[in-house]
């Protein structure tokens, strides 16, 4: 057995044996499951609350509009008339009625009030004030009701028969946005972008987490002086590889457990949702094929390799974990920048910026999987991104190994940037 496996084995087993590993491995799938089930929960919460109806309608228009709205909000002809109250107001007294209504809202006797001005039919302007004014769902429902009633009223005034006007104005329009890819319809667009976001975010977290793990491992070996004993038995380069691969294997283990558990939850979602008393998912979950899954893993591994090599180099440059926190900042910033660009890239996944970020090795491990989840990209783009990342890894690992080899046994003053450059240049 090559000695570097001895190192990798130690890194792996010592981490897997910790409570930290156990906790995060259990928590991650729960988080995943939560993310899958959360939309359903939000969906059930997504109906307007009864608060929409617990309001006052102050009608100064004397057009009958207020009455129509109140009736509709109360649930139609046979609805509960105790909810929405109509107050007819003289045209000049609307302001005073509003301040009275404000008092009532403040005393919690109603949720809010809708003020209809005298010239509503021409101005098409109304005012709502209430405690639930910031609830998008409630406001949507209110607006829909008001719009429908206003339209019906206008139709009637234009000579359309009353029953016909009601039928014409009551539009319950829903727009379902489905995503179409090369492989056909790919489920809901919104769900897909949520999924893409999760993929990018999980990659970002995983690369950061395990990169930091390598950094801490290097600092520990240096600070405790174990490094010198170890490099008397194995070359520093092999030690670096053993460490990176051992920690990477921990990451891969955790990722595979998470993905497997999430798939299990997704596949068993019907009984789970049923048991929780929640309605079934109103949308199709995105389908993750084997090829795409492998590609995601490859991007994770390469991205991890790239960043962990850089973090290891940082670890070899410093003496304490405290120092490491400062020196790692440039490396960490590059990773954080990638996360910052997740949102813009999601908005415009085909933009020049998005294309650049998915080839640039510092961000491609996060951006390429993100775009892959949003779009179907030509094979050429994927291969280009992978090649650039592999080349990036090659360079990063080469530079990191040189810094690591020299820095590992250097104690005392932190090297200047110029010294580090010299370490890298010094041929061995």
């Amino acid at each position: 057995m090559d000695k570097f496996w001895t190192v990798a084995k130690r890194e792996y087993l010592e981490r897997v044996r910790t409570k930290w590993f156990l906790i995060t491995t259990i928590l991650a799938p729960l988080l995943f499951g939560g993310i899958v089930l959360l939309p359903v929960w939000f969906n059930t919460r997504g109906r307007p609350s009864a608060d929409v109806s617990r309001i006052l309608v102050l009608d100064a228009s004397h057009s009958g509009l207020g009455q129509r709205i109140a009736k509709e909000l109360n649930g139609g002809l046979f609805g509960d008339t105790s909810l929405t109250h109509l107050v007819a107001v003289a045209p000049g007294a609307l302001a005073r009625a509003e301040s009275t209504a404000t008092q009532e809202v403040m005393h919690n006797s109603v949720e809010g009030y809708l003020a209809i001005g005298p010239d509503v039919l021409t101005s098409l302007h109304m005012q709502y004030a209430g405690r639930n004014a910031s609830s998008a769902v409630d406001m949507d429902a209110l607006e829909r009701t008001v719009r429908n009633q206003l339209m019906a009223l206008r139709l009637e005034r234009a000579g359309v028969e009353r029953s016909q006007a009601a039928a014409l104005s009551t539009l319950k329009l829903t727009l379902d946005a489905d995503r179409i890819t090369d492989k056909g319809r790919g489920g809901s667009g919104t769900v897909n972008s949520i999924f893409a976001f999760i993929v990018a975010f999980v990659l970002y977290i995983a690369i950061f987490l395990y990169g930091q793990n390598v950094l801490r491992g290097v600092v520990e070996e240096k600070q405790s002086h174990v490094a010198e004993v170890v490099v008397s038995s194995i070359s520093a380069t092999k030690l670096l590889w053993g460490k990176v691969i051992g920690v990477g294997a921990v990451g891969l283990t955790q990722l595979l457990i998470s993905v497997a558990a999430s798939m299990l939850i997704v596949n068993a979602r019907r009984p789970i949702l049923h048991a929780l008393g929640l309605p079934q998912l109103p949308f199709e979950l995105p389908h993750l094929g084997l090829g795409a899954a492998v590609l995601l893993i490859v991007f994770f591994l390469l991205g991890y390799l790239f960043y962990s090599a850089l973090f290891a180099a940082v670890g070899a440059m410093v003496n304490t974990e405290h120092e490491a926190q400062q020196v790692q900042l440039p490396v960490a910033m590059l990773l954080v920048m990638s996360a910052v660009f997740i949102q813009p890239v999601m908005m415009a996944p085909e933009s020049a910026l998005a294309r650049f970020l998915s080839v640039f090795p510092f961000s491609s491990p996060i951006m390429m999987p993100l775009r892959l989840s949003l779009l179907s990209l030509p094979t050429f783009d994927i291969v280009l991104s992978l090649l650039a990342l592999v080349a990036g890894c090659y360079i990063a690992v080469g530079i990191a190994a040189k810094i690591y080899r020299t820095g590992l046994l250097m104690y005392g003053k932190r090297p200047t940037l110029r010294e580090v450059v010299r370490w890298v240049r010094a041929a061995e």
């Binding site: 000695k3 001895t6 190192v7 130690r10 010592e14 520990e220 070996e221 405790s224 002086h225 174990v226 010198e228 004993v229 170890v230 490099v231 008397s232 038995s233 194995i234 070359s235 520093a236 046994l409 104690y411 005392g412 010294e419 010299r422 061995e428």
Partner: protein, 322 residues
């Protein structure tokens, strides 16, 4: 065996602007205890690190146990105890030791019984407590040193290299270490240790190499080194210290060339042309209370001071990286 344990030929190493080692050659015969002596910053640790292929020399060649030190597996026959000792703090003692053994190519099945033996031998496993199950950072400093020492020897090395092994040891552990070194030699192993403490080296080493400023000052078997330094030395112990008359004699340049004054004891190097009898009779005539007057070989400490100079001993590195 004819071939030496270590043969170093003309190695040199430069760090940035600092020449750590220049043109150093030395030979360590098998089965000996070899001392690498020199002040802090002399290049001892750098030499040892090059020997262990931790850093590469800029020039020169190194042979270990008959093979180039870079050849596959040869360093698996060498045990190394660095000056700055350390272990993985959060790891179980037994697991650390197993890891160190595996790094030297010892299989777990072979390593485990050896670990058990060593832990018992050094008192780390007692009927009440098995420290092998504990994590490293639960152990006292002394116990950690023992664990590290076990780690150095688990793979049954033919050559053992100890860098400043006495630094930070209390007298009891220092004595235990001396005994261990003697045991290692008795078992036929070669031991190289570096130190700046000449007393230890003088008592333990068969041969030494003194280096200063990265250069060899002298080397060879301790007896030869001493003989070469000459025997025109007198060890003098006085009861009651030196009176004025005695001090005058000792400061007479026609008699005494150099003197190491330790209040009641003096190590005296006679001046050219002077002889010991002459000195003795002058001292007796001056009424000195002589407790000891002996013709001696110089101590390594004396030789070291003479050759390196008192200034060289304190100059440069207090870095501990020498």
């Amino acid at each position: 065996m004819a071939e030496p344990a270590v043969q170093i030929r003309n190695i040199a190493k430069q760090f940035a602007t600092h020449q750590a080692v220049r043109d150093l050659s030395l030979t360590v015969p098998r089965g000996t205890v070899y001392g690498l002596l020199g002040p802090n910053g002399a290049g001892k640790t750098t030499t040892i690190r090059m020997l262990l292929n931790i850093i590469a020399p800029d020039s020169g060649s190194i042979t270990v146990l008959g093979q180039p030190h870079t050849s596959e597996g040869v360093l698996d026959r060498v045990g190394y105890l660095p000056e700055e000792r350390g272990l993985y703090k959060k790891m179980e003692v037994r697991r650390v030791l197993r890891f160190l053994a595996e790094l030297k190519g010892v299989r777990r099945k072979v390593a485990d019984p050896r670990i058990t033996d060593w832990l018992e031998r050094l008192g780390l496993t007692t009927p009440e407590k098995d420290w092998g199950e504990a994590k490293v950072d639960e152990l006292s400093r002394g116990m950690q040193q023992k664990v590290q020492f076990i780690g150095t020897l688990l793979h049954d090395p033919e050559l053992v290299i100890l860098d400043e092994p006495f630094s930070g040891l209390d007298p009891i552990n220092a004595q235990a270490l001396k005994d261990a070194v003697v045991d290692l030699k008795r078992e036929g192993r070669t031991v190289i240790f570096s130190t700046h403490l000449m007393e230890n080296a003088e008592r333990m080493c068969d041969a030494v190499c003194i280096i200063a400023h990265g250069e060899k000052v002298l080397d060879g078997p301790v007896s030869a080194v001493k003989a070469e330094a000459g025997d025109r030395r007198v060890a003098l112990d006085l009861g009651g210290g030196a009176t004025n008359g005695v001090a005058e004699i000792l400061n007479d340049p026609s008699l005494v060339y150099r003197m190491d004054d330790s209040n009641h004891s003096f190590e005296i190097e006679l001046a050219a042309g002077a002889d010991a009898q002459q000195l003795l009779s002058r001292l007796v005539a001056a009424g000195a209370c002589i407790q000891r007057f002996e013709l001696v070989q110089p101590s390594l400490h004396q030789i070291f001071l003479e050759r390196v100079g008192a200034a060289g001993a304190v100059e440069e590195g207090l870095t501990g990286n020498g």
